[in-house]
């Protein structure tokens, strides 16, 4: 399974950089939160420029970080699914459980992101733009991908039952 190995390598690379970035953020965010003076340099998070100047903008930054960590944890669990696939454990109970969790995490991350984006627009920019985003990184696509993983988990569960019935048909 060359494509599986390639996918796992790409996921491993992403996780490596994501974990490094998360560790850096884990160090800096407490500094931002505890420091009362406004941070002069702007931070770009999820393509949004967040200038940390007061408590509300600090909370927005923390919420962006939470959404990001939910996503990274989802990718970590997805990596575990790929490890199962590499061992040819396709219909393992753990695979079904993990796929469902991955879906929930991606869905949660996308919902938190969109809520924080809305709060950011209202608080920082003082306006709400109604924009239907149809890009690859839109909320609709992100939420759909989360739901897709949950549906995939159900499909794997059905397939596992069918496989067992087939194996126990004499």
């Amino acid at each position: 399974m060359k494509r599986l190995n390639l996918l796992k390598t790409l996921v491993d690379l992403f996780l490596l950089f994501a974990i490094l970035g998360s560790l850096l953020l884990l160090v800096f965010i407490p500094v931002f939160l505890l420091d009362n003076e406004p941070i002069e340099f702007p931070i770009t998070f999820n393509n949004k420029l967040v200038t940390v100047k007061d408590f509300a903008s600090k909370m927005i930054l923390v919420c962006y970080f939470v959404a990001y960590m939910l996503f990274v944890y989802g990718i970590y669990l997805f990596r575990k699914v790929l490890k199962h696939f590499q061992k040819r454990e396709i219909f393992h109970d753990n695979v079904i459980l993990l796929l469902n969790r991955v879906g929930k995490l991606f869905l949660a991350a996308s919902i938190v992101s969109v809520v924080v984006n809305l709060i950011y627009h209202i608080y920082i920019e003082g306006k709400v733009n109604f924009v239907v985003d149809v890009g690859a990184d839109s909320f609709l696509i992100a939420a759909s991908i989360g739901l897709f993983f949950m549906v995939l988990s159900e499909v794997f569960s059905i397939a596992k039952n069918m496989k067992e019935e087939n194996e126990l048909t004499i």
């Binding site: 067992e164 019935e165 126990l168 048909t169 004499i170």
Partner: protein
Amino acid sequence: MPIIVNLDVMLAKRKMRSNELAERVGITTANLSILKTGKAKAIRFSTLEAICEVLDCQPGDIMEFIKY
């Protein structure tokens, strides 16, 4: 499971061993064991036909429905 497979009874009547039945029917001893222990989810008509042919019996002789 409500359907009980009484293969052991028929095997004893015909003085046949499980592995001999499995070989003559064309299934593995593992599958025959699954059938005997009631773990089977389904049985193909072709397998049932072969078992009845070998044991010279009716399907009702080797299967019984018990209500819980």
